[in-house]
Structures are given as structure tokens and as C-alpha cells.
């Protein structure tokens, strides 16, 4: 069954919001667990589409990428980089 973006969005936002008290960034593999039985590639495509829609955002150390709800966790302005 194809994964519907809008339905997947609800599941992802719901799951990430529940976990916000403990962490704001997640591995891509954490998202697979929200959709048992779905192919990792299908989940990956949905997650990347939701970043494009500005629901989610990437965090990168350079070697690893993590994903969280947009605006959550430490943002650029908290690092002293504000709007010009």
C-alpha cells in the first residue's frame, strides 16, 4: 500500500511531538518504526518531502544527519546568527 503523505504527516508530527520532552532530533531509522511494514525507501521519501514542505528540518554534524520538527531544538538565532 502506498504511503499517503498527508496521513504520514499526521503520524510523524504526532509521534515526534510526544517525544519532544526528551529529544528534538531523530535518526531517519526512527521514522521507519512509525510505519511498520513500509519500505524504508518509501518512508525516506515522505520524510524528505516533509522537509521540503517545512514541516520537518535537518540537523547535520557533517557525518550524520538527524531530523526534527521545524523550529524545535537549537536554532541558528540561538547561536547568535540572527536575521540581517
Amino acid at each position: 500500500m502506498a504511503l499517503e503523505k498527508e496521513e504520514a504527516k499526521v503520524v510523524i508530527v504526532d509521534n515526534l511531538t510526544k517525544k519532544l520532552k526528551t529529544k528534538s532530533k531523530f535518526y531517519l531509522k526512527d521514522f521507519y518504526a512509525f510505519f511498520p511494514g513500509e519500505k524504508p525507501r518509501a518512508v525516506k521519501n515522505i520524510v524528505n518531502a516533509l522537509v521540503k514542505d517545512e514541516v520537518l528540518e535537518y540537523w547535520s554534524s557533517g557525518s550524520t544527519t538527524m531530523i526534527g520538527l521545524k523550529g524545535m531544538g537549537k536554532q541558528a538565532n540561538a547561536e547568535g546568527e540572527g536575521e540581517e
Partner: protein, 458 residues
């Protein structure tokens, strides 16, 4: 005059080798004088403060960079690496000092015009400091701020026809040797396949797709000039299936000294007369060569493609005509489980040498890509079956090579549909048990209990 005293860094300039400290000082000086009148878009003192911050790191014995950040360009999940200093007040010009990875041109062929454009852009919108090249091959631009990122990306993609490279849990920028453009040993067109796979997997290159990083590298022959066997999760090494070509007349010219050994690479010193036994035959790792009655012969079945004889006598010995690639998987640097070289998974995948049409032979790039998809269908099949397996089974931050250690090479071979062969065996088995699968046992696990009881009382 320097903004910060840097006695520890100055020590690094005292050795015999060129120092990156001198380079940073030079750029700091260029920015201070600004003879070109550049309207610097990040603080002009960035290089001075970088030196100051680095000096402090040497003094404190610890880094003063924080780990990562939420920075990037719209739609991309790679290519930009957030770097913030934990001493922003003391060194304000490098408080934000993000790294940009730019995809290198195929085989790193540049024009000087491209390099000038790149530096004009980087001196305007960044620190002016580069790392040519990063380990993966990218052009690394060191140090800019978040507001500059989209501007730099726009200029790179629109004015320079150049894209960002890979970072994070993405496919990393594929790297290749110069291949058939200049090298007679190249068994396939490394630049073509590198470009094809880069275009084919744009999504994987620019957005996170995997448990961790994944690297392709393409070596045209077993000389392995880009060291794909040691540095890539999936290594492509050119090879041949038939015989090494031998020109006996040219062999004789090496023996009588007419042809310089190693194409004259070591001619700066007198090494004495060429000695075929000492320099070639006795160095063959499988002892598969002999020279008798003026004739050189090779037992090709035993040849392990070490390339030594071909490198020493390139006019006399040529790579075979039935050419393709060997695929090796799982190479990685240390961190978890230690460093490891790639393990051979596909001994030979033929690449059709008659399929040599170029982009100019097609109406559009799309048509060319379709042609290449057909040409490299076997390669794509192996890549995607490996990725599916790793995406399903790999743990967070687990490289393919670590998964192979955890689950065994046999599991990977199963997933890519490759029958185990003698060449897959690294060493004699250490586990005394043999685990059969149901489909490997006649009749499977089911048995007729009534038939069994006829011969065996309860």
C-alpha cells in the same frame, strides 16, 4: 600586524613542509590589504580570528568548535556543515564558520576560469580559505555565515554549473580516476559511470537516505589510483577476464635496454641494466610468469591483477580485451571495528565496450541517460539491492562494512543474489557448524511421520 599572537601555530611553520598556518596568514594579509576592493560579505577578520581560535585550541588541548547545526540550502539535506565557535565573544569573526562541500568535476579536471570564478565567489562570500580536496574528493570551502549560503548556492548552480557535494547520512560525492581520458590501463570509462551514477542518484546525494554515509569510488584498473578499495563502501575496480596481451618484440626491447622500464619513471638515477628476472618475474606474487627461449609467457588463470608487470613494461604488456569491473564492498576508516578494505563481492561484471556513444550522439541528455541506464543495468541492480539490505538491517550510524562484519559476507551475497564462490573466501572457516536453510535440504523440514514410524518405534 597580526591580530592575535600565535606562538604555538608559528611553530608549525618551522618544519620542512608547507604549512596551512602560512596559508591562513597569507589570506588574512590579503583580506587586511583588500587591494581588489572586495565588498566582503563575512567579517574581513575571519582568517585572523580563525588563527586566534586555533591557537587557543592548541593551548587548551581541546576544540573550540561546537558540533553541527541546522544550516543548509532549501531542498538539500547535505553539502553544508554547520560550524559554530564556543568562543564567539573572543573571536567574533568566526562565531559562525560553516563549511560548504562542492562537488568536484569528474576526475578533477578544471579550467583556470572555473578556479578563478570559484575564488572570486569565495573571497566575496566566504573566508577565502579552501581545502582542495576533502577526503571524499569535494572542493571544500571553509567558513561562511548562514545568510551567504543561498547566495553561494545560486551562483554555483546558475553561473558555474556546479552542484553541492554530499554530507551527512547521504550518498557522498562519487569520485573517479582520470580513466580512459589519459590512461591506457583504464578498463572502463570511469568518468562516464561516475557522472551517470551521480545523476541517477541525485536524491540520495542531496537528501539523507541511509543509516550513515555511503561512498562510491571508481578506479579504472587495479592500480587503484583513487584507492577505492580502501576508501569507499562500494568500490569499482577495472579488470579483464581474458589474457594480458604480450608483444614479444617489445619485451625484447626492455631486455636490451631500448625501452626504459616503468616508462622511464625512475630514470633520474642509474639503476643498472634492466633485469627481467629480478624486476618482474621474481616479483610476480603468484609466480605465474616465465621467460624461456626468448619468449615471455603468463599463466593468466593464476594472475591476481597486481599490475606490476604491466606497470614495468607498459609497451610490451597490455590489459586484456574483455573488460569490466570488480565490485568490492565495505571499506571504511577506523572508528567502529577498525579500518577495513573492501571485500570482493562481484568478481567480474562485464562492461560492454561497444556501447561507447557520447552525449553529442543524442538529441537530449535524457536520451543519453536512458542509454547509460541500459549500459550499466547490472551495476544499478547490485547497488540498489545492497542499499535495500543496508536500509532494512543497518543500525543508526552503521557503515555497510560494519553490517557485513555483524551479519557476515554470506548474508550480503544472498541479498544481492550472488552465489558464493571460492574468490569470496577470505580464510578457512572458524565455525565448526554448518547451518542449512530449508530450501537447501531435500524435502525441506517437513517429513511424513507415518512413514518414519514404520521404521522407528516410539
Amino acid at each position: 600586524m597580526a591580530k592575535h599572537n600565535t606562538p604555538l601555530l608559528d611553530e608549525l611553520e618551522s618544519g620542512p613542509w608547507p604549512s596551512f598556518v602560512s596559508d591562513i596568514k597569507q589570506e588574512a594579509d590579503v583580506r587586511a590589504k583588500n587591494e581588489k576592493g572586495i565588498d566582503f560579505q563575512i567579517p574581513s577578520e575571519a582568517c585572523d580570528d580563525l588563527l586566534g581560535l586555533l591557537e587557543l585550541s592548541y593551548k587548551d588541548g581541546t576544540t573550540h568548535w561546537k558540533h553541527g547545526g541546522i544550516v543548509g540550502v532549501f531542498g538539500y539535506g547535505g553539502g553544508i556543515i554547520g560550524r559554530y565557535s564556543d568562543k564567539p565573544k573572543e573571536f567574533p569573526a568566526v562565531a559562525a564558520f560553516h563549511t560548504i562541500r562542492v562537488s568536484q568535476p569528474g576526475a578533477k579536471y578544471y579550467t583556470t576560469e572555473f578556479l578563478r570564478q570559484l575564488m572570486d565567489l569565495w573571497q566575496l562570500r566566504g573566508s577565502g580559505l579552501t581545502n582542495m580536496h576533502g577526503s571524499t574528493g569535494d572542493i571544500v570551502l571553509l567558513g561562511t555565515t548562514t545568510p551567504q549560503l543561498e547566495e553561494i548556492f545560486y551562483t554555483l548552480t546558475h553561473d558555474m554549473d556546479q552542484d553541492l557535494g554530499g554530507s551527512g547520512s547521504n550518498l557522498r560525492t562519487p569520485a573517479d580516476c582520470i580513466g580512459q581520458s589519459r590512461c591506457e590501463y583504464a578498463c572502463y570509462d570511469t568518468q562516464e559511470i561516475c557522472y551517470f551514477l551521480t545523476m541517477m542518484y541525485q536524491d540520495e546525494l542531496h537528501r539523507p537516505a541511509f543509516p550513515y554515509k555511503f561512498k562510491f569510488k571508481f578506479d579504472g584498473c587495479p592500480n587503484c589510483c583513487v584507492a577505492s578499495i580502501a576508501r569507499s563502501d562500494l568500490s569499482f575496480i577495472g579488470t579483464w577476464r581474458d589474457q594480458i596481451g604480450i608483444d614479444q618484440a617489445e619485451v625484447a626491447k626492455y631486455i636490451d635496454g631500448t625501452n626504459p622500464a616503468n616508462a622511464g619513471a625512475h630514470k633520474g638515477r642509474d639503476w643498472g641494466a634492466f633485469d627481467l628476472d629480478a624486476e618482474v618475474l621474481n616479483l610476480c606474487p603468484t609466480e605465474c610468469m616465465k621467460y624461456e627461449d626468448g619468449k615471455l609467457t603468463i599463466n593468466d588463470k593464476e594472475c591476481t591483477r597486481c599490475m606490476h608487470c604491466i606497470n614495468v613494461m607498459p609497451k610490451a604488456l597490455k590489459i586484456g580485451k574483455q573488460r569490466g569491473v570488480s565490485l568490492l564492498a565495505g571499506a571504511k576508516a577506523p572508528i567502529v571495528d577498525g579500518a577495513q578494505m573492501g571485500s570482493l563481492i562481484v568478481p567480474f561484471l562485464e562492461i560492454d565496450q561497444t556501447m561507447n556513444k557520447q552525449l553529442a550522439d543524442f538529441e537530449s541528455e535524457e536520451e543519453w541517460m536512458e542509454y547509460l541506464e541500459e549500459k550499466y543495468a547490472g551495476v544499478v541492480e547490485v547497488i540498489e539491492s545492497i542499499w535495500d539490505y543496508w536500509m532494512e538491517e543497518g543500525k543508526n550510524r552503521e557503515r555497510l562494512g560494519e553490517l557485513m562484519i555483524r551479519q557476515g559476507l554470506q548474508k550480503l551475497l544472498e541479498k544481492i543474489g550472488m552465489e558464493p564462490q571460492a574468490v569470496h573466501v577470505d580464510h578457512p572457516r572458524t565455525n565448526p557448524y554448518i547451518f542449512w536453510k530449508e530450501d537447501e535440504v531435500p524435502g525441506g523440514w517437513d517429513r511424513d511421520i507415518n512413514e518414519y514410524r514404520k521404521h522407528h518405534a516410539r
